[in-house]
Amino acid sequence: MTRLRRLLDRHATALTLAVIVILWEIAGRFQLVASGALPAPSDVLIRMWEDQADYWPHVAATVRTAFLGFVGGNVIAILAAILFVRWPLTERLSRGVNIAIFALPPIAIVPVLVLALPGEWPRLTLAAIAVYFPTMTAMVVGLTEVDPRSVELMRAYGGGEGAVMRWVRLRASLPALLGGLRVAAPNAVLGAILAEFGSGSRWGLGTYLLGSLGRADPARLWGIGLAATAIAGLAYALAALAASRVTDASRAVTIAAGATPASEPIGRSGGHRVAIAVVALVLPFAIWWGLLALSGLSPIIAKTPLGVFDYLFLPPTAANAQARLLSALAETLPIMVVGMAAGLGFAFLLAVAGAVRPGIVRALMPIALVTQTMPLVALTPLLVLIFGRGVAVTVAITVSVTFFPAYVTLAQGLSMVPKAAFDLVRAYGASGWRALRMVALPASLPWLFAAARLAVPRALLGVMIAEWLATGRGLGNLLNQSRGYLDYGMIWTVALVSVLVSVILYQLAVGLERLATARR
């Protein structure tokens, strides 16, 4: 009996996966879900085998884009991190750019990139952008969190910041950097697929997905989703392998929650601080402007910030443009907020329950990890198959993209609560649920906000993909339509507005997180 138990315990993850596959097979065989929308895994594999001639060029294109974007994005991210740590002022000035890059829903800027860049550059750029943030933040943490004694030692021998960087920081940051690369690798695949899908390229899994969407062929869509997940998972595994060769201590899979962004910069004076904040705010727009000026593109196609303002407020058609934008926002925002709240809520309940009954965590982690690796674009058509093309699918996508990352963040946060804290309240006679209320809930609150901060861009991306692909409503649809109508002004406007929405909601979550942590 106990031997069987031990066996089950040791292989809990494998068992969970096996059970899922078996249930899936049964559900598919007997067409239990949405009359055949969920084909059996065996059917999916058979279909993939039949389609294999199609797969290779598409897979090769996606892997190539992801790889080049991964390399380019990481080089930039590493150099930026070194710059930010060596001269902290540059970090503060770049804060606006960094937040924008983190928060931008990639799908929103694909059409803009296609307008502004030639050939495969839009795809490479998007893959690189997807990689930049996780690597940059991990590297900054690695460079910053060095043994202060080592730094003091450098100073004592007359070494300045340059010597500290050269002898201590660079080498010390290696484990953190490799951790960042692991997160970045599947991101590059997602970025590549999103870009293919929005840029009308000839090859790539994104293109294949888009082409297969119209046919009533669930097995093929699932096959593409599986292939995309496998590539992303493989990218993760390769990065993890490289990491474990350098640092023997392998770490748990984490979402780079990072620290709460520093609340107040150390400024010399109020005016100095305001000046830095203004530059940080203006810099993204200045870069946008500067790049377009350098590119020499026609102002009709490539809108500067001023061009967007012009489009939205000056000409006679402005009122119409404003109305379309506002009604799209009115469709997108409520669904996004509801879906995000539901996803975060479920994650919160489950994580807190898991803190009391750890078995739940063990059973759910594998599913959480698989869905995290599964590229969002690949997930969307599958959910469309199940939920149809109404509002339900948008909510389902938003919940599913926010739930699992939030759950992982919260579960990790709660696992950091010292076990002694639980034991202490129990020792005074508190029941399990009472301990939960007194220890787990307050402990998890800051993590909930951290999870919200991470969930914002994903939620908006999920909603926009659903709108673009399935529902024909909201910002995503407006963007897709404007592409068709060659309405350049609207393409740039939607890109700008969706980035702004994401950044504002992100900042809101940061503000709440600060309030929650300030009291402790």
């Binding site: 100073r155 004592a156 021998y157 070494g159 002898w167």
Partner: protein, 258 residues
């Protein structure tokens, strides 16, 4: 090279800002450490002894008074690599071998410094780590790591050696063993040395004189000269004269409460 420079503190005063209000940690502390002397600074936590050491290093500013090493400000001396430093934490870089960690100050100071590099094997054997030249810090015990730190502090052949509780994290037996070895190593170069410590035995055994700091802000409570010849045998720990001196230091420390 027997200690070319002395360290002179003159009327040092220092305040820290604690939550916006000033807290005086040192009040007009004067101290003269002649060339080649070994001074132990002892006192309760928070009396400013570590701050005084950082001032001697030039890593901490003063509000009043001055410190001179051989007549120069400490910054200049430090940046030439003429001060050796050892902290309570050995602060070894985990990715560097024993030899490479000992060589670290030379790398930071720049220049090839061939004759100082040539001395590294000798220093490693001096601290009893022959055969461990290529070992990484993770493969060493706590005491061995601290020996690496001592070797590192001597690699520039410094005129001045500043140590802040270098054996504070070691157990009593290991600590006494390290004290004996430090004396042996010290006698080879006799740099002008200041040792900050909590241990009365350690201070009396190693130093030419023990300076007791106390009070808040910290002032010099008293100075006890240690007349024993070197090398001092370990049997000295059982000598009644040794105990009279430790009692004297203890009395100066104990008077702090009143």
């Amino acid at each position: 090279m027997a200690g070319g420079r002395g360290i002179v503190f003159e009327e040092i005063s220092k305040q820290f800002l604690v939550r916006g209000s000033p807290l005086a940690v040192l009040d007009k502390v004067s101290l003269d450490c002649p060339p080649g002397s070994f001074t132990a600074l002892i006192g309760p936590s928070g009396c400013g002894k570590s701050t005084l050491l950082k001032i001697a290093l030039g890593l901490e500013t003063v509000d009043a008074g001055s410190v001179r090493i051989g007549g120069e400000p400490p910054d200049a001396v430090r940046q030439r690599g003429e001060i050796g430093i050892a902290f309570q934490d050995p602060a070894l870089l985990p990715w560097r071998s024993v030899s490479a960690n000992v060589a670290l100050p030379l790398d930071v100071l720049g220049g090839s410094r061939p004759e100082q590099r040539a001395r590294i094997p000798h220093l490693v054997s001096l601290v009893g780590l022959s055969g461990f030249e290529t070992a990484l810090p993770g493969e060493l015990s706590g005491g061995m790591r601290q020996r690496v730190a001592i070797a590192r502090s001597l690699v520039t052949a410094p005129d001045v050696l500043l140590m802040d509780e270098p054996f504070g994290a070691l157990d009593l037996i290991l600590r006494r063993q390290m004290n004996v070895e430090l004396q042996r190593i010290w006698m080879e170069q006799s740099p002008t040395t200041i040792l900050v410590t909590h241990g009365i035995d350690e201070a009396v055994y190693l130093a030419d004189r023990v300076v007791v700091l106390g009070g808040r802000p910290g002032v010099v409570k008293g100075i006890v000269d240690i007349p024993f010849d070197r090398p001092r045998p370990t049997t000295i720990f059982r000598d009644p004269a040794f105990h009279r001196l430790t009692d004297e230091v203890g009395a100066l420390l104990g008077g702090d409460e009143g």
